[in-house]
Symmetry: C2
Subunit: 681 residues, 2 copies
């Protein structure tokens, strides 16, 4: 029997043998090689580009023949025709291993460490944590009245703290006798109290009066980013905030890609579960190091996440969430031992609390936003949108709260955008276009200056200008509309129509060139007609979801809008309204809630009553399923134009002028778009 | 750096490298080699005899030099002088590894599979098990009223069975959705109900209405034997009974040897914990095979055990139980997940219930005896003794129950007896000595005939007559007394004094030869003066414990005696009274309760109310600590004679005659013994 071919990846050096016919992407995943993929291996995202090397590699001990990978296939040809593949590149999901091969993963195909923009919002939280320290003095054993050390400890907690119903986990029992004797019958225990039953469980214990502090983690487990706040459980103070990329990105960038990965690959759900749990363990380790504490001082963790992340964290195949009726395995909150989730870096007896899910598409992250933003306590009608790969939308006031989610797709996060990228140094995050000259100026992540300010180019020399992130693309589209480069239907004008050479013809449509460093072999950053369409689809979905909730509530306006989510914190309200992402409200009625889901997680970590509160609220929320509401489709189609059908738009008067332009191109795009147009003076 | 010496054991073939100076017994333990040890490596039991081999072993790839083991030491010399070591034999606890060596473990040094004499007693148990099956029909998911599958299952159990407060363990959550769909929304769940809180936990589930039965294990975890009954949880029927040796025997035969092993060897407690848990896993596997069921059908297990076994099962260092004030880590009952005890062969969510301990020396096994024998419901005053390596003693009636334990030592189990052995085929279990001829006849385990019956020698040819077990030695001593071979102080007469050549002189004392096959290279089975003393010590301890409880209760007689324990079932009441093991009662007032601890375990397995009952009773029992009661010592000394000081002894009249003999030997033993002597006509 001959051996399976050897696959060696560079620059990582990871290697393994795989059967003939194994896709390179599959090999990379199994070896844990950092190879990006957005679509879950479906051949549509092109993020998994790799470069095979041929010839002798004495260092690796292999010779790579010309036929080491399968022949160039139709999917690759189609991609190359459409978007162009660099010389020598292959798509990792299409090319399969035929014999020993050395494969290079170019930098742009690697999943980079994310800049976590989810800082902890300043928020005073009333402290009533589930986990607290109690110091007691325990009676010594008496041969004449025999009783167990545990029973005497329980009696001490009852007598000295009026605490009843205390249990000790099996793992701690072996340490009890030595701890009591070492502390001369004085002991400090960390007790976790169930907010449902009031039962207490000992999480850890120390001889005498401990000097150690105890901590909790509030984790916002997003599709793209896992963000954690390490909180002192005594006072709620945030000691460190940190985040990592969700490594499940390898299996598909958006939620449905991951669900389909699980459907198509037996055991795929378990792969994703293991990946995310390992990442959380790594994050636990690094955040503890950052804060200068030991991981076992972390006694409790709260998770908020969307339903697919929720299921994958809990080890549940998310397949039911990919098809009607979108049944959750469980919707109520969960209280679990961390070790049952293989979260073994934190204290071995740490407890995990997962907020309840609202519905099959509206998760515990939306519940956390509700806990943080409290629409149920609002006197005016608040629309709260948590913008991410999916948008979670809450509408409510003291009379009631409604919720839905809307499949905005990843465009708002810079994915499926030609020059799009995730929020990382070098990404354009803000842009302005001069309505007269049509010239752009912009800011990139990692530099405080605008591109027309002195020193900008020096300061960005190292990162370069690498692409455009979510907030950047929204501003770009809105600014293009304001500058008259787009008509209300979203069509980009030609150089002739717009009077700027930055609008270049590309086949039957035009593109707008923001930055071109191609002469120096650098990137050429453009906004294409396809990008405009992707943003239009995303914003229409968001708007349609909000409108649907307003229909169900029976209103046609809201009093205020709250933009939540890491990304929401970076959206300019002005540009969001120009785009028609959100219903019209006075500009001062648009607030950013920052990372509201993360704040909600911190509240649940620090306050037991908040757990009961959100569990009750979630049961009372009116759930609206966008997938089955015909009106959602109507709103979605109607919202396609920029601006959308609402008219007039007085709040923007004096701030921006939306020109009445109309482009006529060969593409015939002009037939689609807004049904009414707006005139401004 | 040179490698550590290689140690190869035969016949097992197990091998490993160990540092120079490692005792052979330690190497055997670490490799899991079947090498007996009674004393825990203290050089006093001689059970760990091994034979080193020297020369070339091409098969094993080693050459063993003469100095492969350390030199013969003083301990070995002393043992050889006293009892004789066969040519070539060494003591495994004394000889240490010096270089590569091949070591043979002779058959008599191997721990043999125990004949489990702990059959299930016939007993009708009222069924009210903690774990039951429930079949329900669950509502299908509805997009318009989103809720989790778990929540709909919980609702179904509430609506259809009035069951509330149901939780699903993390490990089952991933299976819930597929199980519900496979059964078309019909499902059978096994629910475990806490007898304390009434909360329910799902242990397992099956699509539709299951055909599978569910089972529970009742395990009596003894120092020597682990005995299990597999019960059908529907009707309590015992499907199989099985047992294995407790592999902790390797670390010391009696409890205090194991405690001292834990004290002297860091990590020794964990070694013993692992050994016993592995044995329980093996027993679970084999009992399931025997009953023709799959191990995952075992959903619940109840344990009864003495405090040291209790702690070692739970992974707690038993060191505190070896010294005053004998503090238990925990005394109350325990409800634990089986997996937290590494009991992974049974169902992964199986629950374990451990009965409460009564005191530091009176364990959950004594509680189980109380549950089975119900002294608290007895109108007459019952003395219940569970005879084993330790004797647990209960005295009580409806007015109250007292308990203590007494350190009888292993003599009653055939250990520390010259020809003693465990109950196994070939062991003498019963004996009669003709008072006229002084000739013995006996029965051995594995043969129904007495030695003077036709066919006995043919039927025992295979096993041989290998030694004398616990019940055998008690009968032997009592019969020797009845036959006039012993005086009341326990002194064995000489051939001259007794008139039989079976009494042989051995130094300053005499021995009685029961069976001598030494001419055919077989064993020579004798009862030595030392054996008589060991039995006297054991019976005095038992009797003194019983008397102490009677003192505390303020009585000088009891109405009835119950002999419990596997061994208790085989003791002849007549001989027990002749020996003075138990207080005098009419012979028809001595009952055998069989394996009362095992029965108590089965009751707790099948009946939740019984768990509450025993927990309450244990709290109410008056605990008496023999170690600190001066009266215990007084009773102990006074009980040394055979018969003891109580006189007259009318119950035995007509049955046996205890002759008034007096031996005068060079040993000067005559000064000790009973203070009063008894005359019989």
């Amino acid at each position: 029997m001959t051996q399976d071919p050897l696959v060696i990846f560079t620059p990582s050096g990871k290697r393994g043998r795989f059967p003939v016919g194994t896709p390179v992407l599959t090999a990379a995943r199994q070896l844990g090689v950092d190879l990006d993929s957005v679509c879950g291996g479906r051949g549509i995202c092109s993020k998994c580009q790799i470069t095979p090397s041929f010839g002798d590699f004495p260092k690796h001990g292999v010779t790579v023949s010309d036929g080491a990978l399968s022949d160039w296939n139709k999917v690759e040809q189609r991609y190359d025709d459409k978007r162009g593949l660099k010389e020598g590149r292959r798509l990792g999901c299409q090319a399969t291993v035929q014999s020993d091969v050395v494969i290079d993963v170019p930098p742009e195909s690697q999943v980079h460490k994310q800049v976590v923009r989810k800082a902890a919002s300043a928020r005073v939280i009333e402290m009533d944590p589930a986990t607290r320290l109690y110091y007691v003095e325990v009676a010594e054993p008496d041969m004449h009245v025999p009783s167990g050390d545990l029973e005497r400890l329980q009696n001490a907690l009852k007598d000295q703290w009026e605490l009843d119903g205390i249990s000790l986990p099996q793992a701690l029992l072996p340490r009890l006798q030595t701890t009591l004797r070492k502390g001369d019958w004085k002991i400090t225990v960390a007790l976790h109290t169930s907010h449902l039953t009031g039962a207490h469980q000992i999480i850890d214990m120390w001889p005498g009066l401990t000097e150690d502090r105890i901590y909790g983690l509030a984790i916002d487990l997003g599709s793209t980013t896992i963000a954690a706040h390490l909180c002192d459980l005594r006072n709620g103070q945030v000691k460190a905030s940190s985040g990592v990329m969700n490594p499940q990105i390898r299996f598909g960038e958006d939620l449905m890609s991951r669900v389909s990965y699980a459907m198509m690959n037996p055991g795929g759900d378990q792969e994703m579960t293991n990946a995310v749990r390992n990442a959380i363990n790594g994050l636990t380790e690094s955040i503890a190091t950052e804060a200068g504490i030991r991981p076992f001082q972390i006694l409790e963790t709260v998770f908020v996440c969307n339903p697919v992340m929720h299921h994958l964290l809990l080890g549940i195949d998310p397949v039911e969430l990919g098809q009607a009726p979108f049944a959750l395995a469980t919707s109520e909150s969960m209280s679990i031992a961390a070790r049952d989730l293989d979260l073994t870096v934190m204290n071995e007896n740490a407890q995990v609390y997962v907020l309840p899910c609202i519905a099959g598409h509206v998760g515990a992250d939306a519940a956390a936003v509700a806990l943080s933003e409290e629409p149920d306590k609002s006197d005016d009608l608040a629309l709260i949108v948590d913008v991410g790969t999916n948008a979670e939308i809450l509408l409510g006031d003291t009379q009631g709260v409604l919720a839905c989610s809307s499949p905005t797709g990843p465009a708002f996060e810079g994915a499926q955008i030609r020059s799009g990228q995730r929020a990382a140094p070098g990404a354009i995050e803000a842009i302005r276009i001069d309505p007269a000259t049509k010239e752009p100026r912009f800011k990139v992540i990692g530099c405080e200056k605008w591109s027309d300010e002195d020193g900008f180019w020096d300061e960005t020399a190292q990162t370069g200008i690498t692409g455009i992130c979510g907030s950047g693309i929204i501003e770009a589209v809105a600014e293009m509309r304001i500058a008259g480069l787009l008509d209300p239907s979203g069509l980009i004008g030609s150089a002739e129509q717009t009077g700027t050479p930055r609008c270049e013809s590309e086949g039957r449509t035009n593109v707008y060139v923001i930055h071109d460093a191609s002469a120096e072999d650098g990137p050429r950053i453009t906004v294409s007609q396809g990008d405009i369409r992707a943003i239009q689809l995303a914003k229409s979905a968001l708007y349609a979801g909000a409108r649907l909730l307003m229909d169900v509530r029976g209103v046609d306006k809201v009093d205020r809008v709250v933009l939540a989510g890491a990304f929401g914190a970076h959206i300019s309200p002005l540009h969001a309204m120009v785009l028609g992402m959100i219903p019209d409200v006075p500009q001062d009625k648009v607030q950013s809630a920052g990372n509201a889901a993360g704040t909600g997680a911190r509240i649940a970590l620090c306050n037991q009553a908040a757990r009961r509160r959100i569990e009750t609220l979630v049961r009372e929320i009116t759930k609206v399923e966008t997938a089955i509401e015909p009106k959602f489709q109507e709103h979605f189609v109607a919202a396609n134009a920029i601006p959308h059908a609402t008219d007039p738009f007085p709040e923007l008067a004096g701030e921006v002028t939306l020109p009445d332009v109309s482009f006529n191109t060969a593409g015939g795009d002009e037939g689609r778009g807004g049904r009414r147009r707006r005139r401004r003076g």
